[in-house]
């Protein structure tokens, strides 16, 4: 009954997670990108994405989840922060107040009008930051289980 390096070794769960994982990731991106118009946004999307990786960790193990993510979650946090902070700066270049939203509307043939903007960039930063944070905590705790 002692705690040990642990893998649930459940075929059903593993398969379930491989099935649900892409679904969750896609869903999180969907939530992120529609956030400006419909319920969703960077934070919500980020939590769903983090939940996806957490599912991987729970269904398989810490290593599998780490490998899937490839980068260290703290790096995600860093990138997220930089993106979010950078989103505040373009306004300064055009002489507007700090954090003023900049919009670049791009017409694409199939997808229609694409709204690129600093708020979107900002939301992506939030998205990455949230994923990074949740996963840092989850991974750290999972790692600590073995020590």
């Amino acid at each position: 009954m002692k705690p040990r390096r642990f893998n649930m070794r459940s075929l059903i769960l593993n398969t379930g997670s491989t099935l649900l994982l892409p679904l969750l990731v896609l869903f999180s991106l969907f939530l992120l990108l529609r956030g400006h118009d419909e319920p969703g946004g960077g934070f919500i999307g980020g939590l769903v994405a983090a939940a996806a990786v957490a599912l991987k960790l729970f269904a398989e193990d810490y290593k599998a989840a780490r490998d899937m993510l490839r980068v260290h979650p703290l790096q995600l946090v860093g990138v997220g922060l930089v993106l979010a902070a950078l989103a505040s700066l373009p306004a300064l270049l055009v002489g507007q107040s700090f954090f003023t939203a900049q919009w670049w509307l791009v017409d694409l043939p199939i997808f229609g009008e694409l709204k690129l903007s600093t708020p979107l960039l900002f939301d992506i930063g939030v998205f990455l930051g949230v994923i990074g944070t949740v996963l840092t905590v989850v991974f750290t705790l999972a790692e600590a289980e073995h020590s």
Binding site: M8, L24, F27, V48, A54, F58
Partner: protein, 94 residues
Amino acid sequence: MSPILDYTLWVCFAVLSVALFFALWRLFKGPTLPDRVVALELIASMTVGIIGLYAIRTGRDAFIDVAMVLAITAFLSAIGFARYLEKGSHRDDH
């Protein structure tokens, strides 16, 4: 919205409210953690249902989004608890 639907929704809310209390009772009573988790899962499902009813009631489909997120993530806590139990950690619930 037709009165029939309106009335039905009222009944449904009442039914689900009662149902929630049964689940809550199990959540409280246990006796084991898996029992509680089962009850929790059911509460999540019922929450999905209530949100659906409420969306109809208000005619606002935006509420379905909450149900969507709930439907796809609520099971995670069950997985978490299950993993916890399988790790053979001590339990304080029986």
